[in-house]
């Protein structure tokens, strides 16, 4: 079984803009599924609402595209009803950390064995570019025309406060992204992958990036992979796994 066999290609082209980072994650996830030998019989993807959440529909599996913010409880319900399922939540920063933030807190506490893949573009992309819980300070968006006054959420601290698996990576650092996916799957209990991904259409272009490629290269310059996995919390702009 090749990685493309996990994709519903009849649904292509996808709904995503040129330069979007979600497709890269989709490919990495499918390749990881293949490496793990997952099949449609033991694997499902659950999503909430947003551009990232549309991913669920592109997997050739039984999948659930639920409602805004509620992917985690739906996924937990599936896992609790059928422990044999490998359950993946595939959603964005607004969905998982904004409207769905409370569910994340409690899923961490319960330590449900699900893999949460957060495609973090630091913006509400589908609705046009409003600030999200991960938008950095002073960034101008549709709803922060004078610069964002709210600090971004410290999701690493939330996950680690309950000793769950946290990894931060970007779509530029593809091999690292795949390493994070693999370790997240092997982790028994809740895992959270914070994957920085570009939204050129409704974020990057307002920040002065000319195209998605420029945003990707920006990730290369801005983020550095930590060389030793020492278990300490990741510093700002540091990529790595904390478990």
């Amino acid at each position: 079984m090749g990685y493309r066999d996990y994709i519903r290609e009849e649904r292509f082209p996808t709904s995503w803009c040129g330069g979007c980072g979600i497709g890269i994650v989709l490919k990495a996830v499918c390749q990881t599924f293949e490496e793990q030998g997952f099949t449609y019989e033991n694997t499902t993807v659950v999503s909430g609402i947003g551009c990232s959440a549309r991913s669920a529909g592109y997997f050739k599996l039984d999948t659930v595209h639920s409602i805004h913010g509620r992917a985690i409880p739906v996924a937990e319900g599936i896992k609790m009803a059928n422990e044999k399922m490998n359950v993946f939540v595939f959603s964005g920063d607004g969905d998982l950390l904004g409207i769905g933030g409370n569910h994340l807190l409690h899923a961490c506490r319960r330590n449900t064995d699900i893999n949460i893949i957060c495609i973090d573009n630091e913006i509400y992309g589908m609705t046009g570019g409003q600030k999200s819980p991960t938008t950095e300070l002073h960034i101008k968006t549709l709803t922060s025309p004078k610069g964002n006054e709210d600090r971004p959420i410290n999701v690493q601290a939330i996950i680690r406060a309950h000793d769950d698996f946290y990894a931060r990576t970007t779509v530029y650092h593809y091999n690292h992204l795949k390493k994070c996916l693999k370790e997240a799957i092997e982790w028994k209990g809740l895992s959270f992958l914070d994957i920085k991904a570009p939204c050129i259409s409704n974020n990057g272009r307002r920040l002065g990036f000319k195209n998605g490629y420029e945003m990707l290269i920006h990730y290369k310059d801005e983020y550095k992979i930590r060389t030793s996995d020492n278990g300490h919390l990741l510093a700002e702009k540091e990529l790595g796994i904390v478990k």
Binding site: D62, I72, K79, M80
Partner: protein
């Protein structure tokens, strides 16, 4: 047959277990918590979630994964569950939602009974949907219709609402457990096919059709037809005819227990399946010059009765959770005299 002495909420829980309940998620709320208390002592997988929204969504997930699933709540929680109920209708997930009504709106009077969620059952979520709703009026019936709700959910692949109220759910009565055939699961669980995409978007099969009016009309027609067809097999109502009376009193739940006191004076009609409305009422109503709806709200079911019958109907309303037979009797008398 062995008799049991049970509280209403316990009867709901016991009926659900009998119907094959295997997953229950809920959040504590008066006057529904006893269902949770009862079920944690059984073999059912029970989770106390962080809120009402998580509960309904966990139940949806568990249902899709193959478990007969239920959640229970009261008015404030029922409001919070509405978006999830809409999703369950859209993706056709079979499950049961119990709503033990208390006085609202808002926090209202948590320990006192009301019937203020009647229209919320039918119109609480956005968009159009066609729910099947049962509203029993005794401990025996809560047990039975808990099972019927699961059967109807399996038949219709939809969230079925079991309504109760703080009065009936907190009543302790002797009951003889009803025996009814239990419908097995028909929806293949997640992982069985690998070809399905459940989405709250308007869709056709596994394909979202978010801008296709025809696809939406087709999906709505399918849902409506299916719900009405299934409801025909769950034609539950009580009609006590009094040939000497030209007046029909319509009531349900707690109020219908009080209405029995008037059976020597008037005819009584009690829908147990309160939605879809009992069509037979149209024919029955033709025999009566005067029709009254007795309900513990400001006229919610009355508007639905008027819509069905295409005629004016009088309201006798009990608000604030205090049911006084003499007062209701006076108001019924007054309402009849003013028709």
């Amino acid at each position: 047959m062995e008799k049991l002495l049970l509280q209403g909420n316990e009867a709901i829980a016991l009926g659900a277990v009998k119907a094959g309940l295997s997953f229950y998620a809920s959040y504590p709320i008066t006057p529904a918590s006893e269902i949770l208390h009862y079920l944690v002592k059984t073999n059912v997988k029970v989770v106390q979630m962080e809120d009402e929204i998580a509960s309904i969504n966990a139940v949806i997930g568990a249902s899709l994964a193959g478990a007969k699933s239920m959640t229970a709540t009261s008015g404030p929680g029922f409001s919070l569950k509405q978006e999830g109920i809409g999703l369950a209708h859209m993706i056709e997930a079979p499950l049961v939602v119990v709503d033990v009504q208390r006085v609202g709106p808002s926090t209202g009077m948590p320990t006192l009974p009301a019937q203020g969620d009647i229209l919320q059952c039918k119109y609480g979520s956005h968009g159009d949907y066609f729910p099947i709703v049962f509203y029993p009026n005794s401990v025996s019936e809560l047990y039975r219709y808990s099972m019927e709700a699961f059967n109807a959910a399996e038949d219709s692949l939809s969230p079925v609402i079991l309504l109760s109220d703080g009065y009936i759910s907190h009543l302790t009565e002797t009951m003889v457990p009803a025996e009814i055939p239990i419908k097995p699961r028909t929806l293949p669980p997640l992982g069985a096919l690998g070809t399905r995409h459940y989405t709250g978007l308007t869709h056709k099969g596994a394909f979202p059709k978010a801008t296709d009016a025809e696809a939406h009309q087709e999906h709505m027609a399918h849902l409506q037809k299916k719900q009405l067809e299934v409801a025909k097999n769950y034609l539950f109502y009580e009609y006590l005819e009094n040939k000497n009376s030209d007046t029909l009193l319509i009531s349900f739940g707690a109020m219908s227990r009080l209405a029995y006191a008037f059976k020597d004076q008037y005819s009584l009609f009690r829908p147990i399946r309160i939605f879809p409305m009992i069509e037979e009422l149209t024919e029955i109503a033709q025999r009566y010059r005067k029709i009254l709806v007795l309900e513990m709200n400001a006229g919610q079911y009355l508007s639905e009765v008027e819509r069905l019958l295409q005629r004016r109907v009088k309201l006798v309303s009990v608000l604030g959770g205090k049911i006084n037979l003499n007062q209701v009797a006076r108001e019924v008398q007054w309402a009849i005299e003013t028709i």
